[in-house]
Amino acid sequence: MSQPFRTEKGGRIDRGEELTFTFDGEEFHGHKGDTLASALLANGVHLVGRSFKYHRPRGILSSGSEEPNALVGIYRNGDQTPNLRATQIELYDGLEAISQNRFPSLGFDVGAVNDLLSPLFPAGFYYKTFMWPKSFWDRVYEPIIRSAAGLGKPPRTPDQDTYANQFAHCDVLVAGSGPSGLAAALAAAETGARVILCDEQAECGGSLLSESNASIDGKDPANWVHETVARLSSMENVTLLPRTTAFGYFAHNFVALAERVTDHLAEPDSKLPRERLWQVRAKEVVIAAGAIERPMVFPENDRPGIMLADAGRTYLNRYGVKVGHKVLVATACDTAWQAAFDLADHGVEVVAIVDVRETPPDNLIAIAEARGIRVEAGCVVTGTLGRKRIKSALLGRLMTSGQVASGGQIDCDALLMSGGWTPTVSLYSQSRGKVVWAPEKGAFLPGISVQKERSTGASKAVYGLQACLEDGYAAGEAAATAASGKTATITYSSAYGGEAGSGGILGALPHDRNASRVKAFVDYQNDVTAKDVKLAVREGMHSIEHIKRYTTTGMATDQGRLSNMNALEIASGTLDKPVTDVGLTTFRQPYTPTTFGLFAGISRGDFFDAVRKTASHEWVVQHGGVFEDVSQWKRAWYFPKPGEDMHAAVERECRTVRESVGLFDASTLGKIEVVGPDAAEFLERMYTNPWKKLAPGRCRYGLLLNDAGFIVDDGVIGRLAEDRFHVTTTTGGAPNVLATMEDYLQTEWSDLNVWLTSTTEQYSVAAVQGPKAREFIAPFIEGIDLSADAFPHMSVKEGTFCGVPCRLFRISFTGELGFEINVSRRYGEMMWETLATEIEKRGGTPYGTETMHVLRAEKGYIIVGQDTDGTVTPYDAGMGWAIGKKKFDFVGKRGLARTDLVADGRKQFVGLLTKDPKIRLEEGAQITTSENPATGTAAEGHVTSSYYSAALERTIALAIVKNGHAREGQTLYVPMPEGSIPVEVTGTVFYDKEGAQLNV
């Protein structure tokens, strides 16, 4: 199929394999080895997108990851991934790409009217135009901006791809595989050091893959790349990672790499992840990130067909694509001349080389003349014409006066430009190094290393093939020796050609046009012009950080790698200050846009967080129980019978427990085994209550404070022996309680001889509660006298359940006679199924967390974290009885004595009864003294728990209310949208105030 801009021969594409792809629905052909950009160019397509703000037609500018214009969406799996750079997308058969930011089509875009209205969009227009009226933001400005400006559309369906994560360690990580990077990797690897070499491109080699005018050891540079890569691949101590971007340099030589595993494949293996995150800890890092070419800032420098000179050369030599048939080369440095020569050698008409410099090197002029290329020295491009593709360029001659005289017009269908080279210091900057201005190079270079890294080659402005190789070898050797102490004798390859050349320019070029009417772009992706930068300076933005935010220059996805230096020079010229006084913005992670999928890895869907299940889980599922999430646990919430809603099920469960017997899975409560000669002393210091006199076989409710005096956890603690306690905690608080205990034990009370062990997962716990609890469990328990006298409330004993060892507690969180049977987790299912099967036969019921909550609320038992919020003391909660006042010290004792904690007016724990027994208050609702409080009135407190009580046949609530204990009997109000609800303040115990039910 015709690819009119394909060369006859040459390039690294596989001409034997033709691939079909579509762009905006139109079918094209390319070859294996093409990028989407090179394949489009081979078909003569330059127009690939519309610009962000002005919707101007834009073409492919570069051949790398810094591409600002050619952002496309790629369809796959029935959805599209937006904002991918066509210069990085490897072509595969059947690829479907679409352009972005245009409506209705790329060729005719109504948004282009913005370009004509551009006087309305000056620098900082967001700040100026949309300040007033404020209400217009949400309804008018924002929707318009969103629809008119922007990049691609987000995908509509969940990401179907998978992402992998890999940790790696190495002696030397080399980022970049151009001449310096390859040399560094080889030198390091030959010492035996463990080396990782990554490169964002599909192939290693960097600039060597498009080098036509050099040789290494007498060989074509691409051959040297091939041999070097083969050597590295054969070494066990080397990991080669093409298609892998080092996107983040973090503390302590931790470098994050993004490997694109399947995006380049037509039919990827579904077992493969789309991308893999490499988290690399490197002893030494070699940054071989190279340099990128700078665009020239002249009027209308953004037409499709205008491209960086080195990109034009890369498309020609690497991909076998001519960027045009009549090419104009505009430059300020030597390297672009070689692009012109290569094009001419492939039969492309080079209409002229326009060099800013008055006297370009004679040898270049001689080569140009030999090829019959017109040379215009001391000349600039002052404008371009053509709507969707450049048709001609205006030339201007630089006068000694500094003025520009018209130099005529010249026809062309492509324009290659080079303002010189900018070393890529992004990774160095991310490593927290401070760049240093090198006036002789016109560039910011890596300064002193803050971490264990070194830059090499063009990334520190070492240019020229031989120099880059030498610098790379030295860097690799030094890094390997620093990392592993190893050395090796390496034969350096030597290069011929690939000279560095000279030249380069920063900032906007002079021109003879009407400055107020032309646009010379500095930042292509954000549509920032030279005029915008000057305006920002005039309006008082004098630091580059301010200019950046005001104009958005440098805020594109390349973080200003293309635009910063030109913007800086323009600002510095306008301010009449040296560039070092204007400053350079800091490069931050990530180096290039990185997918969220990569960061999420497998942590999504079912793997987002761990799910913890108890032994009863399957039984609950099979019996129609409903679950609720409590931290990571799945807990049975309620057990509806056929036809029952939640309210009916909970009411029945509550009634059954109060009247008969209920079975509850209490396994999720935290459990900590506290063991050792000083175990009692340790608990004495941790918990508010006294523990030393607690006899083995007895339990006590324990209240845990922090040293500020506030409640942080609670639970029943049983003493199994002089030196052994079974501590329980809340479900959510278990890890923190253990961590807090360890903290005090290790760092404050290292004199105590105590061991702490988490046993939460080691026991399954069945709570059997209700007046018939004793007779219900009796047949299963052996070795324990269950009678009230031998085993009273708050007891613990070891025995057996169905023949397996158990720890049996007589405790209650319902106010009824209650037992909690702890067996080894391996017998959990057996215990639950045995008890659950039996309980229904006996007229009892399994019950869930909702019923547990109602029953405990009827008794006024707090739930830490629901009825308390980290500012509630035991006295506030009405639990002064739990304080061991005679103890010398415990965690929180001194805190409780603080002035504010003993002052009047604290919020206290109370009960609330609505005047209308049918109204159930909303948890979290605010409480006031006035029925209709004025706006701004502070609340007296809030509702913490609220339920319908089957036992009381009415609603009940618990609350925290200012001075609540003294307000029993008072009427307060809970203002709600439907009207204020009057409530009476009561005590917190609604049911069996004497506790008669407990002691049976």
Binding site: N253, F888, R894, T899
Partner: protein, 101 residues
């Protein structure tokens, strides 16, 4: 992600194995009853928040479980040294010159 040395395990491990325990060498007053409100609040809440070298606690929570201390430069994130709980805080003068690099 920081690289942290556990002086008990005597290994360097990634930060994910550890949990930071805040400023080190803040002793809980040994006789709380005799401590003034101001001093107690100082102990509870007041931290130096130094720009520069600080002593901080770390716990090898997914390793040996032990608390230990470290000197870290809050500007560069470089650790200068790690030492066991109970050991005195090293002074900058006593540290070897190459520490922290």
């Amino acid at each position: 992600m920081l690289l942290i040395y556990c002086p008990y395990c005597q290994v360097e491990r990634a930060e994910v194995e550890f949990r930071c325990g805040g400023e080190a060498h803040i002793a809980r007053p040994s006789d709380p009853e005799k401590t003034t409100d101001e001093d107690w609040v100082e102990f509870l809440y007041m931290r130096a928040n130094t720009k520069g070298v600080i002593a901080e606690r770390w716990r090898h929570i997914h390793g040996c479980g032990r608390f230990f201390n470290a000197l870290r430069d809050t500007v560069s994130d470089n650790f200068l040294t790690f030492y066991k709980t109970g050991e005195p805080m090293p002074t900058l003068e006593t540290l070897p010159q190459e520490a922290g690099k």
